[in-house]
Symmetry: C2
Subunit: 207 residues, 2 copies
């Protein structure tokens, strides 16, 4: 148990966690070495092993760090303030499009990257990634349920399943963006998802 962490120590720990998000998103989980993380964070290897037992130990903390950072980002985003739950969902997806800026490592998903690569080899870390992805999806479920009720949707699909589907589309959009070397194709997939939600909740398609 850590009783006391000095500011400087805390700072190097956070810098290493930030570096994990940056380096893994650029070169993948397995290719990321402790030396890469120390170099990116500007800390010594001694400092690394002061804070973490191993690369995997750091990565498990980094998934928590990612979850906290992205959780705050989405909690504070403006889409929550709209009155209509469907409008909130659509504005959430517009917000996701707005995040597609800068280089690919800047907007792609740390948890999705690790899941893709390490699902068989790092089950504990991927379980944490799953909780992060599903936890984020769960923040959309209440809006989906409210929209289903408001628009009178009797569906064969569930709010949970639709929320997870939005995350599948985003994860796949990132892969296409990596293949094509740019965000445009990811934005186009989000547009298709927006179009799907509008059709799904349109009065024409109520049953």
């Amino acid at each position: 148990m850590v009783i006391f962490v000095s500011d400087k120590q805390q700072d190097s720990r956070t810098r290493l966690l930030d570096s994990a998000l940056r380096v893994v998103r650029a070169k993948g989980y397995s290719a990321t070495r402790i030396d890469d993380l120390c170099s990116d964070a500007g800390v010594t290897k001694g400092s690394f092993f002061h804070h973490f037992r191993s690369k995997d130990d750091l990565m498990l903390s980094a998934v928590g760090h990612w979850d906290t950072m992205t959780g705050n980002l989405f909690a504070q985003a403006p889409y929550h303030h709209l009155d209509d739950p469907l409008e909130r969902l659509l504005a959430y997806l517009e917000f996701r499009k707005d995040l597609l800026v800068g280089d690919l490592p800047n907007f792609t998903c740390f948890a999705g990257m690790i899941t893709q690569e390490a699902y068989e080899t790092r089950p504990e870390i991927v379980a944490a990634c799953e909780r992060s992805i599903s936890g984020h999806a769960a923040t959309l479920e209440a809006d989906i349920r409210e929209a289903m009720s408001l628009y009178g949707i009797q569906a064969e699909w569930s709010a949970e399943g639709l929320a997870l589907h939005t995350q599948a589309v985003l994860q796949g959009a990132f892969i296409l963006a990596k293949a094509k070397g740019g965000a445009a194709i990811a934005a186009e997939s989000i547009d298709h998802l927006v179009r799907y939600l509008k059709l799904l909740f349109s009065t024409h398609n109520q049953t």
Copy 2:
């Protein structure tokens, strides 16, 4: 230039390419070592270097091997025989669902796995993956165009973009399947995609 390849040599080369598809889909690109490939293929390291200069050299050939194998699989699939182009698209997606059997490395995408992980570090190999993914998407474009014409769809989206979107959904569905440890969630995302296509081409939504 290879003038003559004996059956036995050809066989060990093919075994190594098959092993690449298997091992990379299980543990990722970077974590796959030449020793893993030789062990999985049951060939010696000498045999490996007889056929390939390096791991990256083998992987570039393995992307071609993947493209040929999946290309044949889809070319011979029964969905092409349906008369209605929209029915062909929907049957293609049912076929993709039918492929979600066995362990995760068995049904996930070799090209998507490498793209996710190595888009910055192995541009030449990822370019081959991109050609494979986009080439497969292109096989759906004629059906989408024909369906747009048959159903009188004047769209703000393109046949090419919608074809690529289907691949984004599939790639993302694989990531969710890896996170959840099973194919069910991937099948659910494909169902959402089927529902989207039906809504998109429904007479209610023609403009």
